[in-house]
């Protein structure tokens, strides 16, 4: 093993740091999205103004680079960790019932992560790319009209369906990820472990339910 190779615990620390940053980002992203729920006229102008504010601010720009780096690092480390794990058992069990003693989503973070990654690609293509590099009409205040684009996309039933399913995958990913990150970083006191469990559960279900609710609301009521 070469000097360059990171320790298993160091890699997991990077997974935890990047994962927790992405958790933090989700909260900010959700707060922005909640503006879509305002009455139509107000939501239209406010959401576009908010988007414009974000794209112009240097601080937001720096955070967005940290965000891109976090997503990439999280994926790269996940692949590196998975490859090491595959090597750690060269012969498989013929008859395997080990799944009985752990929860399914804790064993399938990679699958859930892949679903989320595919979702991100679609998400970036439909909104991020169009906003940054595509041509969008301007609203009456001269801001790019992201709101109309969002409403148009959410009017498609299949899109809302895929969106909601991806939020379910995200929920399970967070449910294990949040708690696992705390454990990786060394939260060992039983009292705080309990807090992390409860906060993680509220966070995961709350964030994902709210994210999933917005396209459903827009689809049926706008």
């Amino acid at each position: 093993m070469g000097q360059w190779r990171q320790k298993t615990l160091t890699r997991k620390n990077w997974m935890a740091f990047t994962g927790l940053f992405l958790c933090f980002f989700l909260v900010i992203h959700l707060l922005g999205n909640l503006q879509l729920m305002l009455p139509d006229e107000r939501a239209h102008l406010q959401f576009n103004a908010y988007s414009h504010l974000l794209s112009g601010n240097i601080l937001i720009k720096i955070i967005s680079w940290v965000l891109y780096a976090s997503i990439i690092a999280h994926v790269v480390y996940a692949i590196a960790i998975t490859l090491t794990n595959k090597r750690s058992r060269d012969v498989k069990y013929h008859y395997d019932r080990r799944g009985e003693v752990s929860k399914w989503y804790t064993r399938n973070m990679g699958v859930l992560g892949t679903i989320i990654f595919i979702f991100l690609v679609i998400h970036f293509r439909d909104f991020w790319y169009v906003y940054k590099f595509g041509s969008l009409p301007l609203d009456e205040r001269g801001n790019k009209d992201l709101y109309r684009l969002v409403v148009a996309v959410y009017s498609e039933t299949w899109y809302v369906l895929v969106y909601v399913l991806c939020m379910v995958a995200l929920c399970y990913h967070l449910l294990h990820g949040f708690f696992s990150a705390a454990r990786t970083l060394g939260v060992y006191h039983p009292r705080y472990v309990r807090w992390v469990r409860v906060i993680g559960w509220i966070y995961s279900v709350g964030i994902c339910a709210a994210f999933a609710w917005i396209p459903i609301y827009v689809h049926f009521l706008k």
Partner: protein, 248 residues
């Protein structure tokens, strides 16, 4: 009871090995699982065949020698039980039981159900001790240790090194084993002196042996015969991160 068995047979570490079928009659439900295997071996011996080799020693659940995958579970279908403490009453008449060795790259199969677990020994040799001059036993009361701390350290020290945590882990991680020893010594004043050096060296050795990452599925705790808590893994991570941050 009539029992059908599918057992992993492998001549030596170079052999590829395969699952082989056996049948055994008149199994007493009160027999331990190992006694059932003894019975099978007597049958094989009488037929002039090579016996099924497996590790065992105390047969009272405290040595950690016996260990095999039984019906796809480490130490069989019961939680927190060693193979020798599993009894045939946990199975039904006519059952087919799959028996395989613990699988991990770090635990190479030596023969049939016997695996080489010396990777664990090397992890302990890397730092699972306190360096003291030996001599007469020191006066026990000269270093005060509170009762709750002593109990917590003993809970961690209860690990018998059977390897079920590695066998059940989807990543073949040795985190539970390594962390139990690290926590045991980190809790006590005698171990605190070398705590940072110890955690670094033991984690390095754990990685060098080819064990995988811990992904906190907590399957290890469910299968551990000594119910070693997964919170020890969190403690190891804490000790490791602290040691890395304070490294000179």
């Amino acid at each position: 009871m009539h029992i059908r068995l599918k057992i992993w047979r492998q001549e030596n570490s170079h052999d590829t090995g395969k699952m082989q079928d056996y049948a055994i009659a008149d199994v007493n439900p009160d027999m331990s699982f190992l006694e059932m295997l003894d019975m099978l071996n007597e049958q094989l011996l009488a037929q002039g065949q090579r016996v099924v080799e497996f590790d065992h020693d105390c047969r009272e659940g405290i040595c950690g020698q016996c260990g095999m995958m039984i019906n796809g579970r480490a130490h069989g279908p019961l939680k927190n039980t060693t193979t020798c403490q599993l009894h045939m009453r946990s199975f039904r008449e006519g059952d087919t039981i799959y028996i395989e060795p613990f699988r991990a790259t770090a635990f190479p199969v030596k023969c049939d159900l016997k695996v080489d677990r010396s990777a664990f020994d090397r992890v302990i040799q890397a730092g699972g001790y306190v360096a003291v001059n030996t001599g007469q036993a020191p006066e026990a009361n000269s270093i005060p240790v509170g009762h709750p701390v002593a109990e917590a350290a003993f809970d961690a020290a209860a690990c018998i090194g059977c390897g079920a945590c590695v066998a059940v882990c989807k990543n073949s991680s040795a985190a539970l084993f390594t962390s139990a020893k690290i926590t045991h010594l980190a809790l006590l004043p005698q171990g605190a002196v070398e705590a940072q050096e110890r955690v670094r060296r033991m984690v390095d050795q754990m990685d060098a042996e080819g064990f995988g990452h811990c992904s906190n599925t907590e399957a290890c705790e469910a299968e551990c015969p000594q119910q070693i808590s997964v919170l020890h893994i969190a403690r190891m991570n804490w000790e490791y991160n602290k040691a890395q941050l304070l490294k000179k």
